[in-house]
Symmetry: C2
Subunit: 187 residues, 2 copies
C-alpha cells in the first residue's frame, strides 16, 4: 500500500532549498531555508527543524466522474528529473466554510468556482499531491497542504494557475495561506 501520510519538515537542511516564502493571507510561518519530506508515521529527527506540517492523502471529495477521468489521465508523477521547482502551499479555510453542508461546499467548489476546470485548463499536466490535515488531530495549523512540482520553464504558467484560483469565490473562505517556493538540483 502506498504511503498516505506525509510530513513536510522545514529547517536548515533538506533535499529542497526554499527560495521564497510569501504570506498570502493570515499568520506567517517561520522562515526556513531547507525542506525535507518524510512519508509514513516516522519523522526524521532534524534538530534544526523549525516546523513540521503533516497531511494525509484521502478520497477525493469534489471531482465528478468525468473530471476524475481527466485528472487521472493527465496528472504527472512527482519526482520527474526535469521538475526541479516545487511549491508547498498550506491552506486553512475559515469556520464559515466548515459550517456549510457538503452540498453547499460542492456547489461553491464546482458551480460557482469551477476549481477543477480551472486547474485542467491552466495546467492540465501539473504534478501535485493534496494532503488533508484537518482530521489528523485536533490541533493542525492548516486544513490542506498541496505539493506541486514543475519544470523551471513552467513557472509562469503555474503562477497563472494560482492567480486564477485565488480569484474564485471559494478562495474567500481561505483565512490562512502561505506560498513556499523551492528548488533542487537536477538529479
Amino acid at each position: 500500500m502506498p504511503a498516505r501520510l506525509f510530513s513536510f519538515i522545514g529547517g536548515e537542511t533538506g533535499l529542497w532549498r526554499v527560495t521564497e516564502m510569501e504570506v498570502i493571507v493570515g499568520k506567517p510561518l517561520p522562515t526556513v531555508v531547507g525542506l525535507e519530506i518524510a512519508s509514513g508515521s516516522e519523522i526524521p529527527s532534524d534538530p534544526h527543524a523549525s516546523w513540521v506540517l503533516r497531511g494525509i492523502t484521502s478520497n477525493e471529495r469534489y471531482a465528478d466522474r468525468e473530471e476524475r477521468r481527466q485528472i487521472v489521465a493527465e496528472l504527472l508523477d512527482l519526482g520527474r528529473p526535469e521538475a526541479t521547482c516545487a511549491a508547498l502551499i498550506p491552506i486553512r479555510k475559515n469556520e464559515a466554510w466548515w459550517e456549510l453542508t457538503q452540498e453547499e461546499r460542492l456547489s461553491i467548489f464546482k458551480e460557482q468556482s469551477h476549481h477543477t476546470k480551472i486547474g485542467l485548463e491552466h495546467f492540465p499536466t501539473l504534478a501535485r499531491r493534496l494532503h488533508h490535515c484537518r482530521d489528523l488531530s485536533e490541533n493542525e495549523p492548516f486544513d490542506f497542504i498541496t505539493w506541486f512540482e514543475y519544470a523551471p520553464s513552467d513557472e509562469v504558467r503555474f503562477n497563472g494557475l494560482l492567480a486564477a484560483l485565488r480569484a474564485i469565490p471559494e478562495w474567500q473562505y481561505v483565512e490562512r495561506e502561505v506560498d513556499i517556493r523551492l528548488e533542487r538540483d537536477q538529479v
Copy 2:
C-alpha cells in the same frame, strides 16, 4: 474548543460494561468486558486494554441544510442520566466505496438509501456521536465509529433503526462491522 478526538479503550475495566459483542460482517474484535472513553490525544494507560479504537469528529459530509436543521434540533446530548445503554459500532467500508466520487457516494447515501431520513424517522431523538478514523493515520482498522446512548426502554426502537440501516444499498459497501452493546449504572 470541544474535544474532537476520542479513544475507545476495550479491556477489563471501564465506566461501561460490555454486554454483547456481535460481528455483523468481517473480522471480529477481541472480546472485552469493559470500555473506557478518553478524549483528546492522551490515552489513559490501561495495562489490561485489549484494543483502542480512535476517531475524530469532523464536518458533516452528506446531510443537506434542512436535514441538518432537523438533526441539530432533535439530537439529544450524550451523558443523560437515564441513558444507561450504549452501542459502539465501528464500521469499515470497502475499496469500491472509496473509489466512488463524492457525488456518487452522496447519491447512494441520500437518493438510493435515505440514510438520514431513516434515522430521523426511526429515532429522531437518538443521542449519538460519529467519529471518522480513515484520515487519522494510515492504518486504522475501521473507517467510522459511531457511539449511541439510549434508555433501556428504547432498545427495541434502536434495534429497529439498525435493522433498517443495514438493509439499505449503502450497507452493501460495509465490509467490517461489529455491534458492541454496553450498559452502566444509573448515576
